[in-house]
Amino acid sequence: MTRFIIRRLLLSLVTLAIILLLITLIPNLAPGDPARKIAGGTASPERLRAVTESLGLDKSIGQQLKDVVSDTIRFDFGDAFTSNAKVTDLVKSSLWNSTKLILFSLVLVLPLSIAGGIWAAYKRDTWIDRVIVNVGVAVSALPEFVVGVLLLALLGVPFAFFKVVANPPADAGFLLQLRHLLLPALTVLTVYFGYIARITRASTITALDSDFARTAFMKGLSTGTVFRKHVLRNSLVPTVAVVGTQLGYMLGGMIGLELIFNYPGLGRLIFNAVDSADYPVLRGGVLTVAIIYMVATLASDLVIAWMNPRARLSLSEGG
């Protein structure tokens, strides 16, 4: 296990190094003068110089790389280009908002999609199973902004209960805050239900078909007991792992969602950075998401390895 952890940690460091290299290289690889493109054709020489500086292009690539590495280690991405705020402060406050949204969404998403998956497995090959699986297939990979506008029009406008702006007023109580977050959370539910339900279904079916489940049924235990004590323990591991790897995306990739519901999270921060050509904020936001994503993947890999020795073996042999 120690060997595996060390190997896996080293792998994460290599990944981080490649990510930093990519982020540094992209503006340098852009053909022509990216600063001119971003600033616009009619920009003054001063503005052009400022944009070039904000991209880091006035320094050598080696120096840029060094800066990015030290910025990341100190978690200090300098000042924003379009405001005087520190990039790190902007990232922190929006990350906190995104975390709130995602935590609440997970409270809805996890029980419902896991229950859906278990139900589909229990009712295998019936119409219930088919509906859950096919709807799940169909709606996975729907852009969240598409689901967002649909829910906004179907629920947000006709029913006053649903709040159309996710950000609650400053003095809102806990329940009102949740009501404001309900529509975005339902959007996350729609996007992820099928995906998580399918994985739960597959692993539940594997567990149900295994010898220990058969033995438990033969012993005369009730279906409920077999599920509770034998099947779920084994079948929920992959689900937890998948949710772990998706956390990074949920926290920073849901740009469309945060825009539609006007929510000041990490996604909207990244969008605003694009909109106002603020490369330092864009880079800080994307790096933060990449690091969260990396840590989440690492954590879920370790959890899988801890739960399942076979996975440990295949990973440490370099599959």
Binding site: I26, K37, V137, V139, A141, V146, V157, G256
Partner: protein
Amino acid sequence: MTITPGRSPLDDAAVDDPAHTIDLGSDADAQTSTLAQVRREQRQVLLRSPAFIIGVAILAFWTLSAIWPELLTEWGPKDTVRNAAGDSLIRTSPNGDAWFGTDRLGRDVYSRVVFGARPILIAAPLATVISAFFGTLIGLFSGYYRGWIDEIISRVLEAILSIPSILLAIVIVFTFGPTYPVIIGTIAFLFVPPLARTVRAATLAESQLDYVTAARMRGESSLFIIAREIFPNVIGVVTVEITVRLGYAIFAIATLAFLGLGGGNATDADWGKDVAANYNNIIADVWWPTIFPALAIGSLVIGVNLIADAVDRANSS
């Protein structure tokens, strides 16, 4: 006629090489079935699957509107709709003159949805095909040769995979400028890693099988083995992965357009751009300029997903 030993019918889903015959049952002599038969049966499974039929119907409709939009609508995407009396219709809800209503500039939402199929149905498949080409190439060589080059390639692929691709796409398109070549190239680049990884895993599994060893014993060149022996056997995996990627390419390109990083002019008919331009009016109950292009994106993604899933099931049936 040769029999490839030690392979389950499941693996043979992908066989495309008429030189191979496959073993479908335990009794190889009596039940040897030809490749053509297997493929015919798979095709039948596919054509009988309702999900596949619905998916193809959706895709066919949007392909028709991409190729020949004038066939489906009398208005151009930038025309102002006028009713029989000659009045221009601004922001009217769906009615007889404009089935999907008109937007704030009096343009016909239905026409814009029909014309909006073209940009995404050119960009998404093109990006997918480019990434499929490079992904398959890298996956095949990486999985066949292994060694330290494979190790480096795998680490780089993993690193790219470990950033949500939409974020990397935003950074690249932002710095390179939002034009169609940049968008297509970016999506193609970002989809190489998942494709290469899948093909590499399949190649790794195939190259341990006896038929590859046999080919090596015959003294065939590595290039021949990769191209003529292994490649035909991973085509099934590639097909499924391409269809899945096409769905994600549509997702990514629509999202980029929604975020203001689409190619072409701001006024062009484009589903993502139209949603972005109009979604603020939903709360004023002007839902139609947003919802119809959003449904168009949704239906296209769902259609492609249904096809991908049906192909996957047919391959493993």
